[in-house]
Symmetry: C2
């Protein structure tokens, strides 16, 4: 019997890149069935305040796994990001993003001969993402930043387990506990407590500003880093920049009951419908998802085909060496399929 | 008559690099007189809870300008960073850090042929640096983040004035107002209001995670960026990494009555007293200070000598090409003086 997952195509370029990725899955004989759910900008427009239908919510909760394209949140007072809402309502407390240099994707770092291979695990619910803010006067805004021990423990434990699973030898905790002594202090203390349960993983901590300085000069110092939500958000994007941008970075939101695998880049409305978008980030997220589901052979097969395709210099118009031929979304997917 | 400023030598390598810098000033015929003040780790140890004597405070307030070496804050509950305290008590609301590629200082970016030249202006007082935190329970920590319109306005106005003075054509505001809608929203709104007074400077805003991604891939997109305190702290260190680390980044804390020019790197206790520390960051901060005081000729003269010295491959042991000869602190200062 095939495993069933929920799929939300997303807005803008979402449907085209999702189609390309599912076509690659099909060709790789991935044993998955899809139930499509209604989520995204048009559902806000249709009056669903969370950007999804009740049926979508029910389906995702029943299946426990959502594969989602990029989504747009309409602008406006009181409208909350659908991506952030999805992470919150289903308590997907760990955001994992794997960053690695891809042959064929030129970056400042590849030009300098530096190869990137690191994972950021970001707490996905707490911190200033609680959105608890008020105006004391018209001139004074106060926001609240909440860090809890259980909330920290679950993501930190996930990070240690992940490090072990990936065969990493070390895990660092990024923080600003020298200034936020109680909030980041609690996160750091929780990290140090849990570290004792993982004597096989070398643990260390580093102040987040120093971390960013080191990441742009000696990224090879790190294998995996766990951080609170906002600092993790910033550091994740920094790392995406090291490997070529959000178009090359997968993202997994892991919870105990529901997990979400998504492309975190934008919906690129300017090129939507033209069939030229780059499906790489969504495909990389899909590969992470296949591994999570235990489809390790298919994951490795697709991953190798993708890496080889990029290495061949086949690329969509948004990146690559000028000297090589640009493919459209379908052409890129065809090339990956040919390399399976 | 000479202008008089307060000088705090700092801890660890502070005294040696300060001596080297003041020797260069002397050789360049800088018309300054110094009043040395007692500040730093040993004054905490001697029972001054702020890390400075009453006489130091009085002197700094009388002279309005402090040139300071790196300082260490002893660890311990309730002990506040002396660097942060100094910024707060004297309301030095704008932290300016100039980052530029230096010939002779190899980085990932110089190897890729990318030249860096940008300034970060960071709000220096508000945000979570207020240190307002409490434990709700042993497992729940709450921190407060405060952003005010006047506090934002003064640093934003400084950034626009600085941009104009430096002949920049644009200024960006980094923020996370998509999540912290009221606090960062207030900062952004203030930026957009003040921008109207500077039609000659092209203003734009960018979400801080996207900013970090762009800074590590296309730093040439930016000339100057203004940010709230913690985000500015993180982005400043990221930028320091682009040009070779904190050893090559000057820092100015600007207030209406008192300003502080400092090296923000550590005190390096392991090499203190050995005469091998790199005085470049303190010298660059000193050059910024000379410009601030209106000593533009001396500033340019010393700056050119420093740049030429680095370009010649003369360097302290902490950096440089292996093929070139390492100098000690005095030897480096001698070389700068010879190039004046
Ligand atoms: C879109 C935005 C709200 C989101 C975040 O801040 O988490 C994004 O930056 C991300 O990292 O997925
Ligand atoms: C030492 C630390 C408290 C300080 C800060 O966070 O401001 C430092 O990182 C800096 O940037 O000067």
């Amino acid at each position: 019997m095939k495993t069933k997952i929920a799929v939300a195509k997303g807005d803008g370029i979402g449907p085209e890149i999702m189609a390309a990725v599912l076509r690659i899955f099909e060709a790789a004989n991935v044993q998955l069935d899809y139930e499509y759910v209604e989520m995204g900008k048009s559902y806000f427009d249709a009056g669903h305040s969370t950007g999804m239908t009740a049926a979508a919510k029910e389906t995702i909760e029943r299946l426990g796994l959502l594969f989602k394209g990029p989504m747009e949140t309409p602008k406006g007072k009181g409208v909350k990001s659908i991506n952030v809402t999805a992470r919150k309502v289903w308590n997907t407390y760990a955001n994992q993003r794997d960053f690695r240099s891809l042959n064929g994707v030129d970056t400042v770092f590849s030009k300098a001969g530096i190869s990137i291979n690191l994972t950021i695990v970001r707490e996905n619910i707490e911190d200033t993402y609680g959105g608890i803010e008020h105006l004391l006067t018209n001139d004074v805004a106060v926001g609240r930043r909440i860090i809890t021990r259980p909330g920290s423990a679950q993501v930190i434990r996930y990070a240690f387990e992940m490090a072990r699973r990936k065969g990493y030898t070390k895990l660092a905790c990024g923080h600003k506990a020298n200034i936020m002594k109680l909030t980041d202090g609690l996160f750091l203390e929780t990290f140090q407590e849990i570290a004792k349960e993982y004597p096989d993983i070398e643990s260390s901590d580093i102040i987040v500003d120093d971390l960013c300085m080191k990441l742009v000069s000696r990224p090879e110092l790190f294998q995996a880093i766990v951080l609170t939500n906002l600092q993790g958000d910033i550091v994740s994007d920094l790392c995406a920049g090291l490997v070529g941008g959000l178009g090359f970075a997968p993202s997994a939101n892991i919870g105990d009951n529901i997990s979400i695998f998504e492309a975190v880049h934008g919906t690129a409305p300017d090129i939507a419908g033209k069939g030229i978008a780059n499906p790489t980030a969504l495909l990389l997220s899909g590969i992470l998802m296949l591994r999570y589901l235990g489809f390790t052979t298919a994951a490795a097969n697709i991953e190798n085909a993708l890496l080889y395709t990029l290495e061949q210099g086949i690329h969509t118009g948004d990146f690559g060496n000028r000297s090589t031929q640009a493919a459209n979304t379908d052409g890129f997917a065809d090339a990956v399929i040919a390399n399976l």
